[in-house]
Symmetry: C2
Subunit: 137 residues, 2 copies
Amino acid sequence: MYTIGEISRRTGVKVPTIRYYEQMGLMAAAERTPGGQRRYCREGLDQLGFIKHARDLGLSIEAIRDLIRLNAHPDTPCDEADRIAAEHLVSVRNRIEQLKRLEAELQRISTQCKAGTVKDCYVIRALADHSLCENEH
Amino acid sequence: MYTIGEISRRTGVKVPTIRYYEQMGLMAAAERTPGGQRRYCREGLDQLGFIKHARDLGLSIEAIRDLIRLNAHPDTPCDEADRIAAEHLVSVRNRIEQLKRLEAELQRISTQCKAGTVKDCYVIRALADHSLCENEH
DNA sequence: CCATAACTCTATAGTCACTATAGATATAGA
DNA sequence: TCTATATCTATAGTGACTATAGAGTTATGG
């Protein structure tokens, strides 16, 4: 049996975050000692690992809840799980594209400014005047 | 003079968001009609445009507050403004790199799953077992 | 057996940048 | 003057935590 601090150390998820996951219904409610402290067995550790991994990949709590629910029914079709992953992949790709446009714009703004004072600063002028931008964002 | 709805339409910033910016000290407090409604002149419109543009580029409220403060002193050196933009550029680039790693991992997870049921679903197995991953995230 | 240190408990509030809602008031046009 | 639309304030909610206070529990060393 592990204390909450132990599974925190092993998974890298902070203690209050584990309690938060329990409250949100991601982690099953842990057994308790007579004094009321949480004790986890192997299963709890695995479950938290699953959640951590999914969070690291950027999946929302909501999506993870769905995946956990699916995982509890091993014989149902997995289209739904595939769909969740695929949809998330699309949103990650969109986000990358958007950030690349911002990167280009920021670089242009940053490197063009050779002025010494705020009055002529290209960074500030560019922010004030959208027409100085090269693409949409 | 523009109503709050008008500058909202012209800039694409929602009405409650404009009031929020005023509360946060980004927008100067607007003049009021005898009945207490906000009225903006050209300056307010420009200021909101500046904020919108900076937000679209992903700058934080805090960073924008700094830039506005700088903008009010046109003869001070603009190193600080350049630094804010450059630092943000670095953080955007880091974020892009991180998302690219996630994208690769998600794609691998998504495309490998040919199973029909949750029991064998690669998406779910990969989430449960970090050792199936190819790189760190 | 007891003191103590380290850990854990709950409940609540704060973070960021909004967004939504309720209920009241103001304004513009017919 | 009526009415539709817009606006006002104040408050609460969003997501995914993080921080804090104050109390209680557990493990260890003497």
